[in-house]
Symmetry: C2
Subunit: 343 residues, 2 copies
């Protein structure tokens, strides 16, 4: 049914107050000082506005101002706990700045990303938080060409100079790997996504560097999971890992970890004695796995805050320089990486 809203408009207030709409607009936008409007009049306008429960029409404001105070957020999958939590923090942070948020999930598809971003722009978002996927370089460039404030989250694109907020993934993976080495593991492998996304290549590099630094270069071995066929690719990866007598694994994302945990449990592999593990991001699944997982924890709240702040700053001031934020992960030690014999 049609939306018959009898909303109060500026005009209604102006009529009631016996002034023009401009005065009302000025007062309600806090510009009474710079327009030297009589306190008495301003007061009356405010009272009437409150009394009538005036709520500005966002569409009209948006049309007129070319700004909607809305942030578009495109993540891989809002139902993935990692992104769900990020989303929650983005929502909170945006709210604090007077912005509201549009979410959408790209499913790691560049084409979908392009469509979603386009939709959001047409809906009039002022800026975009984007978790870029493989192949979405063009979309990012387009956004930059159009001068839409943008911050990449979780990953960035090396060749393109945008704002971004992400984990210091090299360090995180380095720490995770060193931790395993410190715990006495030697044949340490990694299961990662076979994609050219920066967060992934950095995690791989961090792992490699750690192994090399510790003289375990010969033991480096990386298997790749495939987003489109998680179960199959992880099963293959784990099989190879076992054939190689790998002693421990760095699992490069929470999705990979969860998938692998199922397989590890099914196969009756004993963690950590037979296979040490460090994962990323945490979550209930990690906690309840029979040998609770050690993992790299990302400061999600801070990352969300930073992303929103960058955008808001950029929207408010015109002298926008690119900001690159790298947050540090925290290694949370549970039992999956600590051999019982060493306890």
């Amino acid at each position: 049914m049609a939306n018959t809203r009898n909303r109060i408009s500026l005009k209604d207030i102006a009529n009631r107050a016996g002034v023009s709409t401009s005065l009302v607009s000025f007062v309600l936008n806090g510009k009474q000082k710079q327009h030297r409007i009589k306190d008495e009049v301003a007061q009356r306008i405010k009272e009437i506005a409150k009394e009538l429960n005036y709520k500005p029409n966002a569409a009209a404001k948006s049309l007129r101002n070319g700004r909607s105070r809305t942030i578009g957020v495109v993540v891989s999958d809002i139902s993935n706990p990692f992104f769900a939590h990020l989303a929650r923090h983005i929502e909170a942070s945006a709210e604090r700045h007077g912005y509201s948020v549009h979410f959408a999930s790209s499913d790691e598809s560049a084409q979908r990303t392009a469509v979603l971003v386009d939709n959001m722009l047409n809906k009039g978002v002022d800026c975009i938080v984007l978790v870029p996927c493989e192949g979405s370089d063009a979309t990012v460039k387009e956004l930059m060409d159009k001068n839409i404030p943008l911050v990449l989250l979780d990953r960035y694109i090396p060749g393109i100079n945008t704002n971004y907020v992400c984990l210091n993934n090299r360090q995180a993976a380095y720490d995770a790997t060193c931790h395993l080495i410190d715990e006495g593991f030697r044949r340490i492998g990694m299961i990662a996504y076979g994609v050219q996304l920066k967060h992934m290549t950095d995690r791989i590099e961090g792992y490699r560097t750690a192994m090399t630094d510790r003289g375990l270069e010969a033991e480096i071995s990386i298997e790749y999971a495939d987003h489109a066929s998680m179960q199959k690719s992880c099963e293959t990866a784990i099989r190879k890992v076992l054939e190689r007598n790998t002693e421990a694994l760095v699992l490069a994302t929470n999705t990979i970890a969860v998938e692998c945990l199922y397989i590890i449990r099914k196969r009756g592999i004993i963690v950590p004695d037979q296979l040490g593990i460090v994962g990323f991001d945490g979550g209930n699944a990690f906690e309840f796995f029979y040998s609770p997982l050690s993992y790299i924890q990302q400061p999600l709240e801070m990352m969300a805050q930073k992303a929103v702040e960058i955008l808001v700053e950029q929207l408010d001031s015109s002298d926008s320089f690119m900001q690159h934020v790298e947050t540090e992960g925290i290694l949370v030690k549970r039992s999956s990486s600590i051999r019982n014999s060493r306890k």
Copy 2:
């Protein structure tokens, strides 16, 4: 920095085509037939629009039409997997209908709910999907008074005749309880939220009815968790449960279940031999608990679809009658409810 968009407008197309904006508007909205516009002209307009990559300005449309093709969704907490998954399905379903979605999290606060709904209306959403919390009756009524299409999700409010989509919670809890009884448990308790929300009271009632039907009325015992202090309230609940020598538990939500699983594990309680369990909603935590949890699975995708469909229908046709959808849960049997001795 200011958003310098050089977007193509109807006028640009009209100029290029040498026609008026009205014709362009008609053609681009598929009304060329009813306005008997020359095919040739229509064709040219369409081509130019495509060539110029015309994208209508949503704010202008919204202002003019009073409709934004946007759905507002207020859930308890988008970072809760249950709502995150619902959100994902709502997003997908809305997209299929040409709508986009605004999410927000109420934290089960009636006041926040009121504010969020208000914000959304001011942002111009056409309709609302609401997971109502305790005390948000007034907000719901207001929405109805304003004639905003509304569907309550997950829970409904008994005294108020709105659209709603939720699980047949009585049946679900009934099934869960009967399953435990069938497995030989007798002293079966429940841990629920101490709130007057329909999904909760129904689950409690389903449990009660099952116990009564099976002649176990004397064994009925319900403990209450408190949303604001989950750990403490669940610890108290579990303590009481143990004191009472309860043999099995129906845990009324996934949040309650996760919290209780931590406590159960910490206390070294043996599931299912010492304590049988059935939960709600599933999730990775349930799967990885040392004795994987049996649970009632909700058809989230269908629920999301239904909610969106109801709204879209209601938005399109003016003859709107209330729709009440109750979906059936599925009892997924794992090991937490099946005594080893009976295996």
